[in-house]
């Protein structure tokens, strides 16, 4: 197991270096001069002295290697530079928006697990029944439905239902308050976006749970457990589910990427001032320092989430733990 952990941790290093190189080069592939584009907007030519100042501020007057070292070292110290759009430090822009995005991501993950595992298990146990078909169709619908459209429809549904029940339409508030200040208001902001993003997450996990359970239920040790006279509940919970959940754990890590993607569009729908919405604004405003920092941050988060999932998998699977 120690070798497995060491291998996995060491693999992270070239992946992060490669990702940093890719992000760095991508931002430098922009046609034309970033400063000329930014300062010369509206069809007017920018002042050459302003462009030179901009080059010096962004370090563009230095060699590519020096720029990359600056970028990597700055990232390691959480110094992502200054936003070309707002003029504030990028770290400050991200820090202000991170709590709500993290909360929605965690809530979506928890909701997804709570929905996916029970439904996936029941679907496998009642294979080819009407319940199985309903769950499978719901899962495929979850994968097929765009999360932003689901968000729009859920807002519509909340407006109509609240109008019917209370005589006046109710919309979730948009100004964020931390959970410890006002739990009810905080949850009313985060719940619908988390459900919207979590539905797709749960759909994929549901399918994997069902598929894994079906494989495990055909194993000889399950037949043996039943032949020994164990009640079905113990067979399922103690013998089948534990083994079936191993691939599901890995999938949760892989699907985290889709969670991040879902956050980007969902925050736009619900007008939430999170990191996802910041990303879209950065691209729309051609804020390359902010875009660069956000892409790199997303990649680092994704890589470390998958590392954590792989290490958890190693701990859960006795074949790796004692190997």
């Amino acid at each position: 197991m120690h070798r497995y952990i060491a291998n996995r941790v060491l693999l992270v290093i070239p992946t992060l270096i490669g990702a940093a190189v890719l992000v760095f080069l991508l931002m430098r592939l922009i046609p034309g001069d970033i400063c000329a584009i930014r300062l010369g907007s509206g069809g007017t030519m920018a002042d050459p002295r302003a462009i030179a100042r901009c080059h010096a501020e962004l370090g563009l007057d230095r060699s590519l290697v020096a720029q990359f070292i600056d970028f990597a070292w700055g990232f390691a110290r959480l110094d992502f530079g200054i936003s070309m759009w707002s003029g504030k430090p990028v770290a400050e822009e991200i820090a202000a928006r991170l709590p709500i995005s993290l909360e929605i991501a965690m809530m979506a993950t928890v909701l997804a697990i709570l929905i996916a595992i029970p439904l996936g298990t029941i679907s496998a146990l009642k294979q080819n029944s009407w319940l199985d078909h309903v769950v499978r169709v719901a899962a495929i619908a979850g994968i097929s439905t765009p999360s932003f459209w689901l968000g729009i429809v859920s807002i519509l549904a909340v407006l109509e239902i609240s109008n019917l029940l209370f005589g006046a339409p109710w919309m979730p508030p948009i100004d964020y308050v931390p959970f410890w200040q006002d739990p009810l208001r905080n949850l009313s902001i985060a719940f619908l976006p988390a459900l919207t993003v979590g539905y797709r997450y749960s759909a994929v996990s549901m399918r994997m749970t069902r598929s894994a359970m079906l494989e495990v239920l055909r194993e000889d040790y399950i037949r043996t457990a039943r032949a020994k006279g164990l009640i079905e509940k113990i067979v399922i919970n103690r013998h089948a589910l534990k083994n079936a959940l191993l691939p599901v754990v890995t999938l949760i890590g892989i699907e985290f990427a889709f969670l991040i993607s879902g956050l980007v569009v969902t925050e736009q729908v619900f007008n939430i001032n999170g990191v996802g919405r910041l990303f879209v604004l950065a691209v729309q405003n051609q804020d390359y320092t902010l875009t660069q920092a956000l892409v790199m941050l997303t990649v680092v988060t994704f890589v470390f989430v998958n590392l954590a999932v792989d290490l958890l998998y190693a701990w859960l699977d006795p074949r790796i733990r004692f190997g």
Binding site: L26, I140, T145
Partner: protein, 297 residues
């Protein structure tokens, strides 16, 4: 001839009827997959025949008919500029299929070649290609697509490029897994012993044997590409006006007119969901049909 007891039985045996065609067998065994295929074909026909099916031009404004509810004149209603929603959805199907199939085919075939080559050559080539794959796959699809859009700008071609790039390593990874198993079979060694070149062995002996997982993945890729394009257009960073696109229709007045004209939000979303649903159902059925281990499920 030896007079065996079963000889008479054999002589009286009626020749078995011809096997039904593969397509009919597929429809019988996979009704959900067939339903998915029908959905996809309906959308494809709509996109191909948009000029004949759509009653109005997708870009024609009619300020006398803004946000009209569904009626005989406009079966899905109109948007905030008086444009017929049904016509925009039909033309939007064309945009979705162009983007979806372009991304899936280019990304898929590039991934196929890289995946098979990586498995075939092995060694350092495989290690380097897999590390590059790891790096690109560390970027969530939409994030990498947004980064490419940030560099190259929006528009149909750039959207196709932005979505294709993340699909390549995903395809290469799956194809490589299948190709690794095929690399060790005796006929590959026999082909090498016959003096066939690498290109011939890869294209004629390895690629045909990984086509099953590749085709299954292609159907998933088309669905993912359509969803990604819709998301980028919704964010205003994908296809731009006046090109009709489903995501763009949701970006416009969908939220602003959600309570007064909900059809603007509902119909484009249903179109996206049904199309991707169709591809998902068909892809699942294709996997069940091509993978013998799953046939009894």
């Amino acid at each position: 001839m030896v007079d065996l007891p079963y000889t008479a039985a054999l002589e009286n045996t009626v020749e078995a009827p011809r096997a039904r065609s593969g397509a009919l067998d597929f429809c019988r065994r996979e009704p959900l997959g067939t339903f998915g295929l029908v959905l996809v074909l309906i959308m494809a026909v709509a996109g191909l025949g948009a000029e004949w099916i759509a009653p109005y031009s997708p870009t024609a404004n009619d300020f006398a008919a803004m946000t009209e509810p569904p009626s005989w004149a406009h079966i899905m209603g109109t948007d905030q500029f008086g444009r017929d929603l049904f016509s925009r959805i039909v033309f939007g199907a064309r945009t979705a299929f162009i983007v979806g199939f372009s991304c899936a085919l280019v990304g898929g075939f590039a991934g196929l070649v890289l995946g098979v080559a990586s498995a075939y050559f092995g060694g350092r080539i495989d290690t380097v290609l897999q590390r590059i794959n790891d790096v690109i796959m560390a970027f969530p699809l939409i994030i990498l697509a947004l980064a490419v859009i940030a560099v190259f700008g929006s528009g149909v071609f750039n959207v196709i490029l932005a979505i294709t790039i993340p699909l390549i390593p995903r395809c290469a990874r799956v194809v490589r897994s299948s190709a690794l198993a095929i690399r060790e079979v005796p006929y590959i060694d026999a082909a090498r012993a016959c003096g066939f070149g690498h290109t011939r062995i890869i294209l004629r002996h390895m690629v045909p044997n990984v086509l099953a997982p590749f085709l299954i993945m292609l159907t998933a890729f088309v669905g993912q590409a359509i969803l990604a394009e819709a998301s980028l257009s919704y964010l205003g960073l994908g296809v731009q006006e006046p090109v009709p696109a489903w995501g763009l229709m949701l970006q416009g007045g969908a939220e602003e007119y959600a309570t007064t004209a909900p059809w603007i939000a509902i119909f484009p979303g249903v179109a996206i969901a049904l199309t991707v649903f169709g591809f998902s159902l068909f892809g699942d059925a294709l996997r069940d049909a091509l993978d013998p281990k799953l046939r009894d499920r």
